[in-house]
Structure formats: C-alpha cells, structure tokens
C-alpha cells in the first residue's frame, strides 16, 4: 500500500498534556515523544506512558504501521523528532547501523531496577533496548477436524502434510492448510522461519557472505512449496491478517500464524461457529527431522534516541518504564506474551511460550539481515507461485542480495 495512504489511515494518537489520569512517574520535567508500530499491546503501553503527562511533562505518541520508514529520518535530525522508538529484532538494526540510539545502562541503574535481566538487549555489553513482549508464528489447528480425520496433533511439517492429505481424502476440507506466503515481507518471513528451524546459519561466520544455498535452504523451500498444494489457490494474496480471516471463516484446519493474533482468534467474535472453541495453539512444527520449532522468535522493546537532551532522555525512560509497568501488564494480560515480571501466560500466549521453550531461534539481528529479507521478499515470489525451481530461486536470492549488499557497503 502507498506509504502516504498507510500514514493517513493509521491511527495518530496525540495527547498533548491530556491529563485524564495523572500518575506519579517521578518525572520533574521533559518532553516524551513516542514512535511505535500500531497494534493493541503497543497502544496499551503508549496510553500508560501518557499517564505521566503533567504541567511540566508532555507525552505524545504516534502509533503507525509506517514506523519503520519514519524512524531513521526522524531520529537522524537533532533534536530528534521522537525521543522513544519502539522496535523489534529487525527494526532496531537500522537504528544501530546509523548510531541513532543511546546506551541505557545509566538510566537503568537510576530508574530501572524493576526490570528483569532477560529484558535487556545488549550489544557489545551496552544495553540498547528494553524488551517487553515476545511474539512469533506458531501452529493453530482445529481439533474437531483433526479428530474427524483421525490424525494425531502434528509435531512436524511432515505430520502436517500427512494430516492435510487425510483431511482432504476424508472430504472434510478441500484446502486444509494455511500460511502467510504473500510475496513481500510475509513470504520472506516464512522462509526465515523454515530455514531457522533447520538449524543452519544465514551467513558465513564473521562475514556478510550469504550461505543459504545449501541442502537446508532447498529443504525449507521444498516444504514451503509442498504446503501450497493444500492451500487455497489464492494463497499468493494471503498475508497474515487475511489468513486469520480465512481461518476464522472456518476454511482452514491448520495454519502457521502470528501469536499476537491468538487473542482475537480465540474470542468467538467474527468467527464461524465451532472455530474458536476448537482452536488449539501450539508450538510451530519442526522441519527436516529437526528438534526445534521452525519459527523465529521476536521481541518488541523500546529504545531512546541519541539526539535529544539528557533531561528528555531521562523523562522518556521513566515514562516508558511506567508504560511497561506490571500494572499495565495486569490490565492487558491477554493482549500479548509479556516479558514483564509477574506475567502468567494466558491461553492466547501458549503458542509463543511453547516456541520459546522448544528452543526456537530468534530472528537474526545482523546489520545486513534487512537486505536479505528484501531480497527474499521479491525473489521467492516466482518460486512460491510455482513458476521457478528451488535451485533458480536460491541463485536469484543470492544474486539480488549480493548486489544490494555491495551497494550498501557490506560486501566488497
């Protein structure tokens, strides 16, 4: 979608000093300006941080799906347009590459005693971000359909393909599988999930040299293609949100979908009869005889801009600590898989927690991972559409990545 349009339709929450509920965050003065993605958990945090507004403290928040395109230019200027950038594994990388966020260790020592050690994202010994929630794609399945077809809950992609065949043979569903393989960001993320599950590395150790042209890469692609045989013929147009709707309509028996959508799928709102109560959330399937869930683990966290005054940085940090406080988490316990102290995983978080316990690997944070993601998103399109073989697809990805990485200065 056109960026400008996305910008226009996305919610822009402005609360200049709006003081519906004053909270004592211990901030004397300063200006807090938050830039974040736009989904329920982040909106809850932004709202909690805005409680810190007072006569001397202003707190504004811009929750937009275009945050990734805004953050680098907005934090490059001095003073930065936003004092807080809420990021994830992938979106922190451009900020790190351009040195736009500040180390938080001093602020943690002063204001952040309540944080858990596992919440700290450390680069070279310096804490650069505070993580507050986890996310990831995992398996959702319909236990009623599986029972009718007489199959055990699947553990691996081989099980899933076998289950799909049985469901199809039993005449229960024509297209029982679902995955978000729409060319673009979703398709690339799907490949990353599969490839991580094989245990292989994306890059040669200690360099930006791409290393996916191997048996694991081919296996990952082979499974992705095998899955499409059991998907709705329109699978090329299903992104994660579209897929969730298809599932809620009762058209899909097994799908790999984002954990953050679990809450809305489990409540029967907008779902066909029998879907919500028969849905089981579990870890992502394993692949190629592997033992770990084939899905990337994601964290969402906040960072503080470098190009702002120390006073604003301290105010921003304190406001965000209030934003991710245990009280906020308690009030929104079902909204996300929180990493905040005292969190008890609810039914919607089961899948992400199972991924983490199963040893799933995090989405890579290498400085050149974004270039690979872009290369995958365009070059795998023909493969998943069925008009190209795996060999050619991997060669295309490598050629596109090499070109981009050379221009970006990562490869010679």
């Amino acid at each position: 979608m056109k960026p400008i349009l996305m910008l226009a339709v996305s919610t822009v929450a402005l609360a200049m000093g709006a003081g519906a509920a004053y909270a004592d965050c211990g901030i004397e003065a300063g200006s807090v300006r938050i830039l974040s993605n736009d989904f329920a958990a982040l909106r809850a945090i932004n709202a909690a941080a805005q409680e810190c507004a007072s006569g001397t403290v202003t707190v504004t928040a811009n929750a937009t799906a275009e945050h990734k395109n805004l953050q680098v230019p907005a934090l490059s200027i001095n003073p930065a347009e936003y004092s807080v950038a809420v990021v994830a594994n992938n979106s922190i990388v451009p900020l790190l590459n351009d040195d736009l966020i500040r180390p938080l260790d001093d602020l943690i020592a002063q204001y952040g005693q309540a944080l858990l050690p596992s919440q700290l994202v450390k680069i070279d010994g310096k804490t650069m971000a505070i993580a507050f929630m986890g996310n990831g794609q995992h398996l959702f399945y319909r236990k009623d359909i599986l029972e009718k077809a007489g199959v055990e809950p699947p553990k691996s992609y081989d099980d899933i393909l076998a289950a799909a065949q049985k469901i199809k043979d039993a005449g229960l569903m024509e297209h029982p599988l679902g995955a978000s393989v729409k060319p673009g960001w979703d398709l690339a993320a799907e490949f990353v999930n599969h490839y991580l599950g094989t245990g292989a590395e994306f890059f040669a150790p200690g360099s930006a040299e791409l290393a996916i042209d191997n048996d694991q890469g081919r296996k990952a692609l082979e499974v992705m293609r095998a899955m499409t045989a059991y998907m709705d013929p329109d699978y090329l147009t299903f992104d994660a949100n579209e897929l969730a709707k298809e599932y809620e309509a009762g058209n899909i028996a097994l799908m790999v979908e984002w954990g953050s959508l679990g809450g809305s799928i489990l409540d029967a709102d907008g779902a066909a009869e029998g879907v919500a109560e028969n849905t089981v959330l579990t870890a992502a399937p394993t692949i190629a005889g592997g033992t770990i869930p084939a899905a990337a683990l994601w964290w969402d966290g906040f960072t503080i801009a470098k190009n702002i005054s120390d006073q604003d940085a301290a105010a921003s940090f304190q406001a965000m600590i209030h934003g991710i406080s245990p009280q906020m988490m308690k009030a929104n316990e079902q909204t996300a898989t929180w990493l905040i102290e005292g969190y008890q995983p609810g039914p919607a978080a089961v899948g992400v927690v199972a991924n983490a316990n199963g040893g799933a690997r995090p989405y890579p944070m290498q400085p050149y991972m974004g270039l690979l993601h872009t290369a995958l998103s365009a070059e795998l399109a023909e493969f998943i559409a069925g008009s190209e073989d795996a060999e050619q697809a991997l060669a295309d990805v490598k050629a596109a990545y090499d070109t981009a990485a050379r221009d970006a200065g990562f490869l010679k």
């Binding site: 979608m1 056109k2 349009l5 990734k68 395109n69 680098v72 594994n89 992938n90 979106s91 990388v93 451009p94 790190l96 590459n97 351009d98 040195d99 700290l120 994202v121 450390k122 680069i123 070279d124 010994g125 993580a131 729409k182 060319p183 673009g184 200690g206 360099s207 930006a208 013929p233 329109d234 090329l236 147009t237 683990l297 990493l339 799933a360 690997r361 995090p362 944070m365 290498q366 400085p367 270039l371 993601h373 872009t374 998103s377 365009a378 399109a381 023909e382 559409a385 190209e388 050619q392 295309d396 596109a400 090499d402 070109t403 981009a404 221009d407 970006a408 200065g409 990562f410 010679k412």
Partner: protein, 343 residues
Amino acid sequence: MPNKTFFAFILPSLIAMVLFIALPIVSVVVQSLYVAHERVMVEVENCQPFGGCTKELRVDTAATTQLQREQPLGRFNGLGTYFNRAHLATNELGAILSSERGFGEKVALIFNLPFYKALIFTLVYCFVVTPLAMVLGFAIALAVNALPKVTKGPIIFFSLLPMIITPLVGSLILYWMLSPNGILGATIQHIFNDPTLSLRASPPLTWIALLVYGVWTNAPFSFVVFYAGLQTVPGDTLESAMIDGASRWERIRYVIIPHLAPLATFVALVQLMDNFRVFEPIVGFSADANATSLSWLIYNDLSGDAQQFGSAGATSVLTIIGVVILLLPVLIRTWREFKHKAV
C-alpha cells in the same frame, strides 16, 4: 505578446517547475551515481531475550560516521548501479545471450532478471491499455454525444467515475469483485464451471485482470477529451456529408476522426506517459508474484527493512529515459508539424 511580458507571465510557474520538478530530478540523478560507504564491521557480543548471547558482526558506527562526514553522499559508483543485476544487468545479459541455450530458455532467463521482468509488463500495459482505452473512450464519447440533452449530465458523471476514484481504491474494488467470493469471480467460476478457477492464481489471468483495470480507469480521460473535441466538429461539414449520402459510420470515419486526430495524438501522449508509471493496480491486486513494473521496483527498494536509495534513484532515472524514448516519435511529429506551420 512581447517576450518580456510573456516571461514575466510564466515566471512564477517557471520557478515552481524548477523547484519542484527540475531540482528533485537532478538530486535523483546525483543520488543514483553514489552507493553507501563500505561499512566498518566489528565482532561483538550480543545478548537478547531469546537465544542468549552470541558473537555477531555489528557496524562500527564511529568509524563509519567518520567516513560519512568526509563524503556525505557516499562512495562514487559512476554508472555502476545502472549496469548491476538489479537494473540493466549487462553482465548477466551477456552471459545468458552467449550461453548454449534454446531461444525460449534464454528469454525465460532474461525475464527472470528483476528489471526486465518489470519492463516487459510495463511495456505490455502501456501498449495494450493505451489504444484500447482510447477506443473505448471514443466510443463512449460518440454514444454520449448522441444522447438527448436531459440524460447527458448524469451519464457523463457516471462515465467519469473510474477516473474520480483513487487508483488504489479503484483497483481494490475490482480486486475484491474478482475474488472467488466476489460477484465477478463467482460469475466467472460459474460460467467456466470450474470452482478452483481464480484470477489471482495464474500469471496470464492476473495480467488480463490488470489490463482490464487499466482500460477501465483510463477510458474516462480519453472520453472527456474526445467529447470536448466532438463539440467542435463543424456542423456544415457533417450536414454536407449527410446530403452526399454518407452513413453514420462514414461520417465518423471521414469527418470526425480526421478532425479529432490531433487530439488523439495529445491523448496518446499523456496516456502513454501515465501508463508507463503503472503502480497502484499491482499493489491493489497483490500481483507482485506475477507482474511487477518499474515504479513497483522503486517502491520495493524504498519500502523494505533496508532502504536502497541509490538503486531506487537509478530505476527512477531509467524510468524517465523510458518515458522520453516512448514519447520521442510523437514529439518529433509535433515538432515537425509546428515547424511546418511556422513556415
């Protein structure tokens, strides 16, 4: 008008054109000649909530900033970006052409390169949509012109709707109608008696859907211009043609079409230029897997997790060159006519 008055008259728009059209193009050209600095990398220990601590490469920002300060534009790359795989791909092209493959296989490999894949769809879109939209627009104009006065207003309004609707919204509307649950998609499945038929799944059907959308959205522009032109057709000539026994078709063929020919050149010019920049329907139809265009390549470079300005700049310049090449025959003809008239 004296030259001085004329100059003073167009000065404001001239300034605006330089500021908002010429300078940005210059900046894009300059940008396309540069690529990012070599990043200085260091291996450091990273810890995160999942996966614990690992040793990984990071950009040494202090050293890289130093490089950037010395040369803010980046490394000069000359025309290197233009000839790399993401653009003209001269090396890859040479390797494919000189290899021992069949003709069909060579063509397939060339259209596997991102630039040529985008170019072929862009050109097909241009040369299919432009004439068809003009013919359709002309037909609508003739039909509306023959209507009684009372009904003209509302019908003109409805005919203009495809142009009034934002292209992205228009393509989304058609896209949803063509989905298997939509009215058109379901009808097509019914007609061909094939419940798995989906316009979104096969490349040829996706192309056809995009081309139909293109004709639908472009026809109103031709219609408006041709309709205005029809009002200037001299009544005497038409009447004398009728007295000579010319049928309606003969009047159109020998009076109206020659009269509107200069207008047709103008419409073709504008439409070709417009269609060469095709973008919204590809996004609206989620057609990236089966069809891409030059503008889509620019969007893809700038919208990913890593923004590639040099590459996007090079594609933009190539698009401008493409538009100039497309318009060259028409421009030359206009120039000749202008000179002919002046003499």
